[in-house]
């Protein structure tokens, strides 16, 4: 990989990492959810050094331009990250459902109790 490309990918990785780190520090981003994004940032940073692995692997797989392989790998990691967040949303939706039903039933009981008191 050309040095300029490596520096560019490295910088992107650093920026992403710092951004997420700051969000977690300011408590705007939950730690357990941030891990996925931190991994992507670290993967970017390392991929800029990993030309010993990336270059031969890219040639073996038939990539004419090695950085393209980096982006394929990163894209795949992004898809995994999105999948992870979909699972989180799905789980939250299920919990939301339970909560909304419990609230509705409890509100009914509460209003009955009040009525009996009066």
């Amino acid at each position: 990989m050309a040095l300029s490309v490596r520096i560019f990918i490295f910088m992107l990785g650093i920026v992403l990492f710092i951004m997420i780190f700051e969000l977690v520090r300011k408590k705007k981003f939950r730690e357990e959810l941030s891990i996925v994004w931190l991994i992507i940032g670290v993967a970017l940073i390392f991929s800029s050094f990993a030309d010993r692995v990336i270059d031969p692997l890219a040639h073996k797989l038939g990539f004419g331009y090695p950085p393209a392989l980096v982006f394929v790998i990163i894209s795949f990691l992004l898809v995994l990250a999105l999948l992870y967040f979909s699972i989180v949303v799905s789980d939250l939706k299920g919990k939301n459902k339970e909560l909304s039903q419990k609230i509705a039933l409890m509100e009914y009981k509460l209003s009955k109790l009040y009525q009996e008191k009066e």
Binding site: K93, K97, S100, Q101, I103, A104, L105, E107, Y108
Partner: protein
Amino acid sequence: MIIPVYNEEACLASVLNDVKNSNLNTDVLVVNDGSTDNTSEIAKQAGVKVLDIPFNMGYGLAIQTGFRFATEYGYDFVITMDGDGQHDPSFAKNLIEAMHREEADVVIGSRFLERTYKMGIARRIGVWLFSKIARFYTGMKFTDPTSGFQLLKRRVFLYLSKGDNYPLDYPDVNIIMALYKMRFKVIEAPVRMFEKSKGKSMHSGLGPLIYIVRMFLAIIMVFLRKEE
């Protein structure tokens, strides 16, 4: 009787009045699925039981909340009916008769057994296709599996009230198939339905294509999931 409603202030009063006049001798529970209008107040004024779900979560969730209520307060039978005035509550007697006659666990009120009913062509194809699949699986013909007009025995709604046994959005042939798998007897009985006069019904809005893909997934899951 469970009536799920979402922003039905225009129709609800007359629906509840019809129920009252139908001599059904049943408790009425309105499940308000996070309406933003006066639906809840209208129901409370009518003197029926009201459950208020804090936000709009979907038709299926409203029905399931009703099932949970019925389970908790020891009801033996539940009738579900839409709150938009498309169902005629006097036909609930047909469902009850059919349940006694056939010793069924679930009776689904079908609009197609009585007379034709207009709907979009894509939707019609979907309904036709999935009723074929249900027929293949259960050996019975279901002409109107999405009907919200149903009569259920306690052991059925007890099962459906648990966890994810009932969908958040619209139940369809997948639920009929799941009930069949649980060895409940599900039959149909004719009812009259009115075309929806005003407002957006709970059965619209979903793209027919998404509907068909979703139903296929749901049906495959019925086959794959283990019996509990």
